[in-house]
């Protein structure tokens, strides 16, 4: 008896819905569909099973986090060389004088590897030897909305699948009562919470079941999860069982394969009503763990979401995406980025340590980064504008060279200059770790072999792989 059949059976012991008949109806179709399989077989042996992508929404400054530029410090307040900025796209600094803004914080070397990071990262510094910093990213969009769309879908045109959808479409998910692609969001305290859009986790032209499901900190964690007031768990069971039975009877007349699927989805929904609250209940975690993440429980903070990410990873969720907003520091970057780093520093360390402790680190890829970086030029004397020509991200986990850094920007931190990595390269690398050749992972859409990694040539960044 398959798991789901057993579940149906167990849940019907008191109200006698006829579990056996139901199991017969579901038959082999259910058995096949139970473990949500992907459409691909691995192209090569995968290094990881899942991805936790930490989106620092708003565009964190690489110059105050992972990319130290002494030259920029020396040139503070002086004009940026026109040779660098001429003819380049620019966002809010359009028509303004372009002057250098020194890095607002000192940098330190962390770990045995001597990873150079901003001094504001003492906790992340503790696991510096586990992360691989890439300092030579560049992207194709300079405003938040299109840049998010690009990094998530590989194009700025709406309607394309997000990477989480691609991956769950390709590989399916091990999660039983949970979606394979889960999104969590948190806000910062600085008041620069740029909007995000559900387009960023949409399944585009892939089937809807690969859409990211937003787990919420407040209200129902999954929309419409709670039974109506006045309907107990047992009554919900009654209702669902009666619906199943009636659907089954009707199937005898119409012979519609969709009915088997419908019955299966109602069972899954009913199971989710119990499993999701269980997932969200951080009281099950010991005090030490909560302290390590710096959270009191499910309080909607980035720390709590990182802990939830680990719990999702344990449950076999394939793609876990966390958005932490408020990194859009056009002004007052010195104060505001400190707030942001404070919010993420401890949870990042905790997530890496915790995944290691649970034996999940080697099978998980963690990606940290925003939709773009920020200008070496000052905005209004205390901030930085959006910047797409060079920025930093870091990777950690299975198959990644820890304590390593790759690529560089020029001496101003403007252009990715050495070992340049595109967003599509990053996609290709992630897919490679998952056992997928990005060139061979395509879906026909409007006559094209649409790919996450786009049509332009791109590469797996093998240099960052262990």
């Amino acid at each position: 008896m398959s798991l789901l059949q057993r579940r149906v059976f167990l849940s019907q012991t008191t109200r006698g819905v006829g579990a056996l008949a139901l199991a017969n109806l579901l038959g082999p179709q259910l058995a096949a569909a139970e473990k949500s399989k992907g459409t691909l077989s691995y192209h090569h042996k995968p290094r990881i099973e899942r991805v936790i992508w930490l989106v620092m929404a708003g565009g964190p400054s690489h110059l105050e986090t992972f990319d130290y530029k002494p030259k920029l410090a020396a040139m503070d307040g002086q004009p940026m060389p026109e040779s660098i900025t001429k003819g380049q796209p620019i966002a809010q600094l359009q028509g303004q004088k372009l002057k250098c803004l020194a890095p607002q914080y000192k940098f330190k070397k962390f770990g045995k590897s001597g990873q150079e990071m901003c001094e504001l990262f003492p906790h992340l510094g503790e696991v510096a030897d586990d992360i691989c910093i890439i300092r030579s990213l560049h992207t194709e969009a300079i405003n938040h909305d299109p840049a998010h769309t690009f990094i998530n879908t590989g194009t700025t045109i709406s309607g394309r699948p997000s990477m989480g959808s691609w991956i769950t479409y390709g590989l399916g998910s091990e999660a039983k009562d949970l979606p394979g692609f889960v999104v969590l969001t948190s806000q910062g305290r600085g008041g620069q919470n740029q909007p995000i859009s559900s387009r960023q986790w949409h399944s585009g032209f892939l089937p809807s079941r690969f859409q990211g499901v937003n787990l919420r900190g407040k209200g129902d964690p999954v929309l419409y999860l709670s039974s109506p007031n006045g309907v107990s768990r047992e009554q919900q069971r009654d209702a669902v069982s009666t619906i199943q039975k009636l659907n089954q009877l009707h199937n005898g007349v119409v012979d519609d394969p969709e009915i088997a699927t419908r019955i299966q989805q109602y069972e899954l929904a009913f199971q989710m009503q119990a499993s999701v609250p269980g997932l969200m209940d951080l009281k099950q975690e010991d005090k030490k763990t909560l302290e390590m993440y710096g959270t009191q429980g499910a309080d909607g903070t980035f720390g709590a979401n990182c802990l939830l990410a680990r719990r999702l990873a344990e449950r076999g969720v394939r793609f876990i995406q966390l958005y932490h907003r408020d990194w859009d520091h056009h002004g007052g970057i010195k104060r505001d980025i400190q707030l942001k780093i404070e919010e993420v520093d401890r949870p990042l360390m905790a997530l890496i340590r915790d995944l290691k402790a649970k034996g999940l680190f080697d099978s998980t890829l963690i990606v940290w980064g925003g939709e773009f970086g920020r200008t070496p030029m000052s905005q209004g004397g205390s901030g930085r504008d959006h910047h797409m020509k060079g920025f930093s991200m870091w990777l950690a986990g299975g198959g990644i060279k820890g304590g390593f850094s790759y690529g560089n920007t020029d001496e101003f931190g403007y252009n990715a200059a050495e070992n340049v990595v595109s967003v599509h390269d990053l996609h290709a690398t992630m897919l490679h770790l998952l056992g997928i050749d990005h060139e061979r992972f395509s879906v026909k859409f409007q006559g094209l072999d649409a790919k996450l990694s786009g049509v332009e040539p791109c590469r797996v960044v093998r240099e960052v792989l262990a």
């Binding site: 966002a91 909007p195 109506p228 009877l249």
Partner: protein, 812 residues
């Protein structure tokens, strides 16, 4: 969803099993060449390798790739069969592989002379051999089935027929009375009468509008970044009106693309032109105008290409099309048609244009005059009191602080003088009546004015310069400047000088010699009636799309449609056919031979569209408010769903009253966060053209139907109906629920299952009245005082089960 390539293959299998004797380039060969070869040996000159084109017979022969009749001498055959990785085609790095049967087909095709055919969609519409007035849809369908020695399925029973027609033509279920009438109607034209009656309903226009609004990406918010609201709902109502009045599709097309350019454009025509304003726009700070001008230009070309032409022009934004005969220049020349549309590149689009009818304008004028009159009368009277102001100032008491402060000043500035005067005049008892009269007139005027809706419409102005953007790069200004022009591959006789307009474009789309518009529209209407298109790829009739399953039928219908552009006639033709009326029940012999039901030996069945799931629940529960049109509404949405929106931060405020019970299509359409119970049933965000919605079957749908306040409240209202109108006994009420919701009575077995359920719930809710009361407070509809809570809760629970049945949301 099955990948397209698999579908394509299945299609080929079906076709081959019939006509193994004749090879067709379009059906059998081109799909192979297009998918595997054209990217490097096709229309895109920048990617072309070895100067070889396989899409052009002359070049292919000239380069000896193909030697007709001699596969052994054809390089193509040598290369596709080569075992040398340096020689084999397609090359390994293309990650394409020809199957053995594909190779065999190519060889056979060359052996038989390598005949090419022009792409079916790009050649003029062809009257078929049987294209006589009496040739019907069924003629074509049956002829094709006969080749397979198959026949249509028997006609569906009347209950199925009336449900099918009602859903397809109005998006709503029939009432039980309507079902009874139809089942009993023994007149020979009972079916046709029903069709006519349904198509005459205003809900027909609503249903058709849902289909059209997906294509033109109608929404109530701008889409990008802040995703702030925009006012275009009058356009939505224009679409509904157009379908209801059966506006010819050519007029409909012209008004949308160029209504503003028509001489003495009417209000309706201007509202139609809102089509050009429906695209996603931005207010994001730091956005560069040039970048967004380029984005909007390309968005519009993609949309026109998808909606009217059914081709993927979007590919040509960066390069010549790899499969279809469209060039980058064609793309930007198309964009130039829209360069005159006035709009801010970045920023607020404003409320739009006030849409006052001539009557409303006259009324407004009269109200303005009344206000002016009242003002004059008041001023005349007040003038008499002005001389007494100085005296009043000396003795005035109990004044507001600011007025008192003014009085204490030695010198007053003009504002202070005015404030004081206004205050003084406002306190004169003798003018009180006149002041009140003025206030009344002003209020009347303002109330009337706010009732006149606004809408973003198209305003034509100085055209922006449009250049070819190399690789789509908006920063690159080296490209050639282009003028409005339609793709070179097609004949164009409608362009005016010196600069062609959107009106010319519309006329070109509708010209008799344009092969695309009619085929594409007919194909999409076919999908509404049959669940899938005659060309399955609704978004692409180009080289990479699928060939029609019934090409002659498609052309037959398209030719008829071109003659008068009569949409209702087209719809009626389809739903009157026997092919439409047949049962959808699977037949064992078809499952193997035609699993995709391409030959239509039975009807298809599918889940209702998102809006119609909602509409159906509201309809049977009696909650539906069937008002047509008006501003969009906000039915229940979980709190906090908009928390990721900003600039400004917003919370969705549930409507009260009628706004909670309108049809789903009137729900405020927020592109970045679409109302989630619609989203769960695959309603599209409408950021881009949607030619085909997904039809998923997900746990989220179960959660919505089980737990969303919309459906719980509908269950309560439906349960209340069962108690009041269903009869005294439990069995009668269960029968009532089935009849209302499913248009049939329950079987004995179904009745038994529900009887047990009712008994169990009655026991539970009688024992626990608090639970009963809690269930009944969900939703804004007042709880009836005259019914016991336990009874109403029991029937709410039972109705809830019925609203969750697969049959309830299925068009069979």
């Amino acid at each position: 969803m099955i990948p397209r390539s698999v579908l394509l293959l299945l299609g080929l299998l079906v076709c081959h099993s019939v006509q193994a004797d004749e090879l067709s380039y379009n059906r059998d060969i081109r799909p192979i060449l297009s998918d595997n070869c054209f990217a490097c040996h096709g229309p895109d000159k920048n990617q072309r390798k070895a100067r070889l084109r396989l899409d052009d017979r002359d070049v292919a022969l000239d380069r000896k790739a193909i030697v007709p009749g001699k596969p052994g001498e054809s390089k193509l055959v040598a290369r596709i069969t080569s075992t040398d990785t340096d020689k084999v085609m397609p090359p390994p790095e293309a990650h394409k592989k020809l199957t053995l049967s594909q190779k065999k087909l190519l060889e056979r095709w060359i052996a038989e002379g390598a005949k090419y055919e022009p792409h079916w969609a790009y050649i003029p519409l062809k009257p078929s051999a049987v294209n006589k007035p009496q040739a019907t849809i069924d003629h074509f369908i049956q002829e094709r089935l006969a080749k397979e020695k198959l026949a249509l399925s028997p006609e569906a029973d009347r209950v199925t027929l009336i449900r099918r027609l009602s859903f397809d033509l109005t998006g709503l279920p029939p009432t039980w009375a309507e079902v009874q009438d139809f089942v009993k109607d023994s007149s020979p034209n009972a079916y046709e009468k029903l069709v006519d009656r349904l198509m005459a309903k205003p809900q027909y226009g609503e249903r058709m509008a849902v289909f059209w609004l997906d294509l033109v990406r109608y929404a109530d918010s701008i889409g990008y970044h802040s995703d702030n609201p925009m006012t275009v709902w009058p356009y939505r109502d224009y679409v509904i009106r157009s379908f209801n009045s059966n506006k010819p599709f050519d007029t409909f097309t012209i008004e949308q693309l160029a209504g503003d350019l028509l001489p003495n454009a009417t209000l309706d025509q201007k509202v139609g032109s809102a089509y050009n304003r429906l695209l996603q726009t931005t207010q994001e700070g730091g956005s560069q105008a040039k970048e967004y001008e380029a984005k909007y230009a390309t968005d519009r070309v993609r949309n026109v290409g998808s909606v009217w032409m059914g081709v993927t022009l979007g590919c040509c934004q960066c390069h010549d099309h790899k499969y279809d005969p469209f060039l980058t220049k064609d793309f930007y020349s198309m964009a130039a048609f829209f360069a005159d549309v006035q709009e801010p590149a970045v920023g607020d689009r404003g409320p739009g244009t006030k849409l006052a009818t001539p009557e409303q304008e006259a009324e407004l004028k009269a109200l303005d005059a009344a206000v002016a009159e009242a003002k004059k009368a008041l001023a005349a009277e007040e003038a008499k009191f002005l001389p007494k102001q100085a005296e009043w100032e000396k003795s005035a008491k109990n004044l507001p602080k600011n007025i008192e402060a003014i009085l204490k000043l030695e010198k007053r500035n003009p504002k202070q003088t005015n404030d004081l005067k206004a205050y003084y005049l406002s306190r004169i008892p003798e003018t009180k009546a006149l002041r009140e009269t003025l206030a009344k007139h002003e209020a009347a005027r303002n109330t009337f004015a706010t009732k006149i809706p606004s809408c973003l419409i198209t305003q034509s102005g100085n055209p922006r310069i449009v250049r070819i953007l190399p690789r789509g790069d908006w920063l690159n200004e080296t490209g050639e400047i282009v003028q409005p022009a339609t793709p070179k591959v097609f004949i164009s006789t409608t362009m005016t000088q010196p600069r062609a307009t959107r009106l010319d474009l519309a006329k070109w789309l509708l010209a008799k010699e344009n092969p695309l518009t009619a085929r594409v529209f007919v194909n999409r209407v076919w999908k509404l009636a049959f669940g899938a298109g005659l060309v399955r790829t609704l978004d692409d009739v180009g080289m990479q799309g699928e060939a029609p399953t019934h090409p002659e039928l498609l052309d037959h219908l398209a030719l008829g449609f071109q003659n008068g552009w009569d949409v209702k006639k087209l719809v009626k033709q389809m739903v009157m056919s026997q092919a439409y009326r047949q049962s959808s029940k699977p037949r064992p012999e078809l499952q193997e031979r035609d699993p995709e039901n391409r030959l239509l030996a039975r009807q298809n069945r599918f889940r209702l569209d998102a809006e119609f799931v909602r509409d159906t629940a509201l309809s049977v529960s009696g909650l539906l408010v069937s008002k047509i049109g008006g501003p969009s509404v906000k039915p229940y949405q979980p709190a906090g769903y908009w928390s990721a929106l900003n600039f400004p931060a917003r919370e969705w405020q549930n409507d009260s009253g009628d706004g909670l019970y309108r049809r789903g299509m009137y729900t405020h359409w927020q592109r970045s966060f679409l109302q989630p119970s619609l989203l769960a049933f695959d309603a599209p965000s409408r950021e881009e053209c949607t030619t085909e919605r997904a039809r998923s079957n997900l746990p989220q749908q179960a959660l919505v139907l089980l737990n969303d306040a919309t459906y719980v409240e509908a269950a309560r209202a439906f349960g209340e109906r069962a108690i009041r109108d269903g009869g005294k006994s439990s069995a009668e009420r269960v029968a009532f629920l089935y009849q209302q919701a499913l248009s049939r009575s329950p079987t004995a077995e179904e009745a038994k299952v529900l009887a047990e359920y009712v008994a169990e719930q009655a026991k539970l809710y009688t024992a626990n009245e608090a639970d009963a009361k809690a269930l009944l407070t969900i939703g804004a509809k007042p709880v009836p005082k005259d019914l016991p809570a336990s009874e109403l809760a029991t029937w709410t629970a039972t109705a809830r089960v019925v609203l969750n049945l697969h049959e309830f949301i299925t068009r069979n």
